[in-house]
């Protein structure tokens, strides 16, 4: 059986010195060869694995004919941001996991094919979208991450007058401030946002709902509201030394690098400390992104400190592999207990304790337990904490009657409606930190619900 086409990449020893994209994308020839492997199953399992149910055999068959224009049309019926998803979806957990070919050989590289179609369309110029007759009704979208952008796009296409409000100075949410350029070029996100504006949506950046206006006010001014405010509030560990100079949340580190372009300091004004020995605490995509960014800023050694083992690392496999190739050191089964203080409140290493895996916990993963007496110090001058985030809280200021859980996530029903009529929510603000595609799925559902609600 044929094996999957490998994606051309920048060599590891080169790419650690730049912020350009690592994976270079298929050539046309490769894309067609890969597409030809697909069996176009009658009951395609892959589609079930995709949270927005893209007609995968449908677009792949168009690719086989070399008809990329129609292929992207099929994808865009259900996915507004294919260039993004093709790059960052955890495909091995979703569409590709269920691909029938994966049983005996390798699954179809669905994400890479999707990326190819989206990139091809962008290069040849995206056609102007068709928009329905104006409905005369107004919808506010709060937050412009993948959830908000998707809801905005669907509602604008359906003829609503859409206004997007974004707290930061640029739209895109995590796609702009979190995921680094070398994994998702910002130009792509900007084009996607531009496309939504072409649909007639208005964008107000620098606009924090809960401060400049409250949700209560938006409810008065608009016929419906969608909340896609994400989960950006960083968690810290609560250990000694966490406020020392040089301890960053992954969010701050990545925001400085991506949104503020600190990697181009002093051409750009925002500084960052890159350090020589960097420790990143955590094992998800966020940790990998922070570690690989620190390496590119010029650190001598960057390590991931994670309390479980390799198998449990929650990051996408591709990112873990890329990080290893680039020389990131994985200090697994290790947990920081204290950050040691050096001169002038700087960092002088991190004391860690070894962990072993015990009985499975509620999540089904084996619970890490500390090995007594195994404390040791790892050299470090910069520490980046990437152990998770919770929902952004500002939106709740002046939102009477909006029901939230004790964890700060917004409560919604199966249609994505909150406890307030006409106010929907979705994405990380509802689920806690999750994925781009699940946020998009929630944006889509909410757009449908709002449309139903307003056409009653």
């Amino acid at each position: 059986m044929s094996v999957t086409q490998e994606m051309p990449e920048q060599p590891a020893d080169e790419r650690i010195h730049n912020f350009e994209e690592v994976a270079l994308g298929y050539t046309e020839e490769q894309a067609i060869l890969e597409a030809e492997r697909c069996l176009e199953c009658k009951k395609p399992k892959c589609v079930e694995g995709c949270p927005v149910n893209i007609d995968i055999p449908g677009f792949v068959s168009k690719m086989k004919e070399g008809n990329f224009e129609e292929a992207i049309g099929v994808i865009k019926k259900t996915n507004t941001l294919p260039a993004v998803c093709g790059r960052v979806c955890p495909q091995e957990e979703q569409c590709e996991k269920l691909c029938i070919l994966g049983k005996k050989s390798e699954p179809i590289s669905i994400g890479r094919l999707e990326r190819f179609c989206a990139d091809r369309e962008r290069e040849s110029g995206v056609k102007d979208p068709v928009v329905a007759e104006p409905t005369g009704k107004k919808v506010a979208i709060v937050g412009t991450g993948p959830a908000g952008l998707t809801a905005a796009s669907d509602l604008a296409k359906a003829g609503y007058s859409v206004t997007m409000f974004e707290a930061l100075h640029e739209a895109g949410g995590v796609l702009i401030y979190g995921i680094p350029e070398f994994r998702l070029p910002k130009a792509i996100v900007k084009e996607e946002v531009g496309y939504i504006m072409k649909l007639g949506a208005e964008l107000k950046v620098d606009y924090v709902i809960g401060r400049i206006k409250t949700l209560d006010q938006l409810e008065d001014e608009f016929d419906a509201v969608f909340l896609g405010t994400g989960a950006g509030l960083p968690k810290f560990m609560g250990i000694e030394g966490e406020n020392l100079n040089g301890v960053y949340s992954a969010n701050e580190f990545l925001t400085r690098v991506n949104l503020m372009k600190a990697y181009r300091f002093p051409e750009f004004d925002t500084p960052i400390k890159c350090g020589s020995h960097v420790i990143v605490v955590g094992g998800g995509n966020v940790a990998m992104d922070a570690a690989r960014s620190a390496l590119r800023l010029g650190a001598d050694e960057v390590s991931i400190v994670y309390r479980r083992s390799d198998e449990e690392l929650p990051a996408r496999r591709e990112e873990i592999e890329h990080a290893k190739e680039e020389g990131i050191v994985f200090r697994l089964l290790n947990n920081p207990v204290r950050i040691l203080e050096g001169e002038n409140m700087s960092i002088n290493g991190v004391e860690c304790i070894k962990m072993e895996l015990g009985e499975p916990d509620e999540s089904g993963r084996r619970r890490p337990v500390p090995v007594e007496g195994s404390e040791h110090v790892i050299d470090a001058d910069i520490v980046i904490i990437a152990i998770g985030t919770s929902p952004n809280p500002i939106i709740f200021d002046g939102s009477k009657g909006l029901e939230v859980t004790p964890w700060g996530t917004i409560v919604v029903n199966e249609a994505g409606m909150t406890s307030l009529e006409g106010v929907c929510a979705g994405g990380d603000a509802v689920t806690g930190a999750a994925t781009v595609i699940s946020a998009m799925g929630a944006g889509k559902l909410a757009a449908q619900t709002i449309d139903d609600h307003l056409s009653k």
């Binding site: 620098d206 401060r211 960083p234 400085r256 503020m260 372009k261 750009f268 004004d269």
Partner: protein, 283 residues
């Protein structure tokens, strides 16, 4: 989006006032809150307190001191120029209630954020005693404005060129030792001044509030860069503050964290000066 500078004037050397056209911000602004601005695409996001606002005209007033690259670049802008970003109002508003006698202490450019508070306290019927200080008379800002909104105005200069010869803390102590019952003290200025005021008021059991100015990025609780230690707990100054009870604040941590980028700040300024012409006063 762009935000127009509608007025600019120098108050004293290196300290400037600007009125910025930002109607939505002006409509929502309250004393104690701040904005974050970015001059241009390459710019850093810097926080500045809302020194005043005019809801009718849609203006927000900022008063800033030239410190490094961004504030020096801002100082060179003129009425008619535009800022790329101007986000606000951020942070919690001051809790301004009718409590009796309030002492407002402003040091240096810290007089700017104290001004709207003095006015607000006075408007709802408190007795307002203001203490303002600067290194010398020539650096004192907003004296007339402060006088207009205070029942009593005391001035201190380090060199004695105006008012009390010494620090604002001396005047605070005199008031505390005097006959008048003081119900609250609000002190805003350089961290070193706020720490000194906190030290002076500590034995007196008078509520003392300070406004903290850690380094910020987003100002919405998303980065944690602005974290401060308040009574042993980590707080984010941009959403939990910027005002806190002085006796709870770990000032040493604040001051140390403020110095984190000293080297980069110098490099940035050097780099900027290189790009300026010979006649530029920032040289």
């Amino acid at each position: 989006m762009a935000y127009k500078i509608v007025e600019k004037r120098q108050l004293v050397p290196d300290v400037h006032l600007m009125n910025i056209e930002a109607p939505d911000v002006a409509a929502a602004a309250k004393a104690g809150q701040f904005i974050i601005l970015r001059i241009d695409e390459e710019g850093e996001r810097i926080p500045l307190t809302i020194a005043d606002y005019d809801t009718d005209k849609g203006f927000v007033t900022i008063i800033f001191q030239e410190m490094g690259k961004t504030t020096k670049q801002l100082a060179k802008m003129a009425a008619g120029d535009e800022l790329q970003d101007f986000v606000g109002p951020l942070g919690k508003a001051s809790e301004i209630e009718k409590i009796g006698t309030v002492v407002l202490v402003g040091g240096g450019v810290g007089i700017a954020p104290v001004y709207p508070q003095a006015r607000a306290y006075r408007e709802i019927g408190n007795k307002v005693i203001s203490i303002i200080g600067a290194r010398n008379e020539g650096l004192l800002i907003l004296e007339d404005e402060m006088k207009a909104v205070s029942d009593e105005l005391l001035v201190a200069t380090d060199d004695g060129s105006k008012g009390h010869h010494g620090f604002v803390t001396d005047l605070v102590k005199e008031l505390l030792d005097g006959d008048e019952k003081i119900d609250r003290i609000v002190a805003i200025g350089p961290p070193i001044m706020m720490r000194a005021v906190a030290g002076v008021t500590d034995p007196y059991d008078v509520e003392t509030i300070v406004s903290l100015n850690p380094i910020m990025v987003d100002g919405t609780g998303m980065c944690g860069g602005c974290r401060v230690n308040i009574a042993g707990e980590t707080k984010f100054a941009c959403v939990d503050g910027p005002e806190f009870n002085a006796k709870d604040v770990d000032f040493n941590l604040l001051m140390s964290r403020l110095s984190l980028y000293r080297k980069e700040e110098m490099d940035s300024l050097e780099n900027y000066k290189k790009g300026c012409g010979d006649d530029c006063k920032c040289q």
